[in-house]
Amino acid sequence: MKANASLVVLVTQRLVLGLLLLLGVSMLIFAGTQLLPGDPAQAILGQSATPEALANMRKELGLNEPAPVRYARWLGHALTGDFGKALSNGQDISTALGKRLNNTLFLAGCAALVAVPLAVFLGLVAARFRNTWVDKTLSTIGLATTALPEFFVAYILIFLLAVKLQWFSSMSIIFEGMTLWERLDAIALPVMVLTLAVMAHMMRMTRAAILNVMQSAYIETAELKGLSEFQVVVRHALPNALAPIVNVVLLNLAYLVVGVIVIEVIFVYPGMGQYMVDHVAKRDVPVVQACGMVFASIYIGLNIVADIVGIVANPRLRHPK
């Protein structure tokens, strides 16, 4: 009973801490765009605007009020899902963002569905055959893929698989009315690149976590009482190695959501990353703030989930000394 109570307290603490962090992040993202004495009104109307038009525009955008007031209003609207209108084309940001967020989550989700099982499986294989050529080959490939920048891997794959062999399309264009199969075919290459980018880290940690547990005395007991190797690993080692593995997987998912930005631009994929980058170039601050906030929320959210899973899975963390 007491253990459960302290668990609830710990999890609540993490959640509150996460919310405070989000609040801090929202301030930072708002402040980051206020550092220059720049004027969005001037940016919208251009250099040739008359003073009257500028004054009207400032009033319309609420620029005459001090920054804290504008921040509070921005945050209040953002919390209700209203990010205002884009400066560049006047469209509603939330509507455009929602569609693109779906696309981004679809891409990142598919990559996770491929990468996570593959990484855990290869990690188990590497641990089983540790210090043999299998293990060494896997770790060398892993090191190589983490050292290479994503766009290098992406363009090598485009050059080989899309241009030379023509197996896949070099662009991942997705539109409404496509069947699921067509969508999956379109994102095959970016999923491959993302998988390569996040897999090595998860694989290494799985291997390390399993090896760490395999050295315990109770594993030796299990081996000595005649269990098969498969049973020892799956029934005895895996449950205790699960917490660090889940943690690494979640951290890599958080990385995936951000790493997707460059990949989306390479493959011309209509996701949130591309939407953000386009509007940075257009100096469309409200859109960039909205995207930054959504990206940061997902990132922080996944990190908190990783923390909580760690607390729930590891009894030792529940009773800090």
Partner: protein, 279 residues
Amino acid sequence: MKFLNLVRKAPLSAQLGLLLCAAFTLVAALAHWIAPFDSAAIVGDVWMPISTKHWLGTDNLGRDLMSRLIQGTQTTLVIAGLATILSFTLGSVAGFVASVAGGWVDMALSRAVDVLMAIPTLIFALVVLSVFPSTVPVLILVMGILDSTRVYRLARAVAMDINVMDFVEAARLRGEKTSWIVFREILPNALTPLVSELGMRFIFAVLFLSALSFLGLGVQPPDADWGGLVKENKEGIVFGIPAGLAPAAAIALLTIAVNLVADWVLNLTSNVRGEQGNV
């Protein structure tokens, strides 16, 4: 002399890494003299194939790609290098001060760093670059400040360990000021672990700059760093022209080289401190 001895005893991978790093530095330093053509001059047709005159062919506007790559090496290494220096100075001084001063100074700095680190670096850089122009000083500042949070964490942790040692206690009892304790007591003893991190921070800066330039928000044309060169020539790849792969390969090669050297330095320093290397 001592350094040469160390190098001779280093494993082959580290020697290879050092050689590559030296080669890149040399190319960057002498870029102006060894580039066969003016990097901004149009010298031929668009995307000409590799030839004896143009070693890597020409780029999307008919400029000599080899010359642009050499000039890009200088741009990349200088910006990434300055950003690394900034992040190290800022991060380590703030980290040392936080651990020595303790109390609310430590609290305020650490919480500020927590918030900064909660936003993915690329996202925050994009937010800031939506209002600031992408000039070289702005890029160095943004990259340096954002990366200093990582150095801060490390420097603070290292200094925490040193801060409780007897000689620091003695200095404090002598009545030395915080600045003396930070620069004369902590810094010399914290240098080794920090230096082994230097390589990784530098390569992170290179990758970060390349990503920004690739997105069109880093170094602005007509100048180009490696990421910018990939961006300029990326359309060619779809037509089977490998021009964009050369700068991408340069990034990959430098990343691997620095990784090899950093691994070696890490092993060396952990051996010096009597710990088990390569955990």
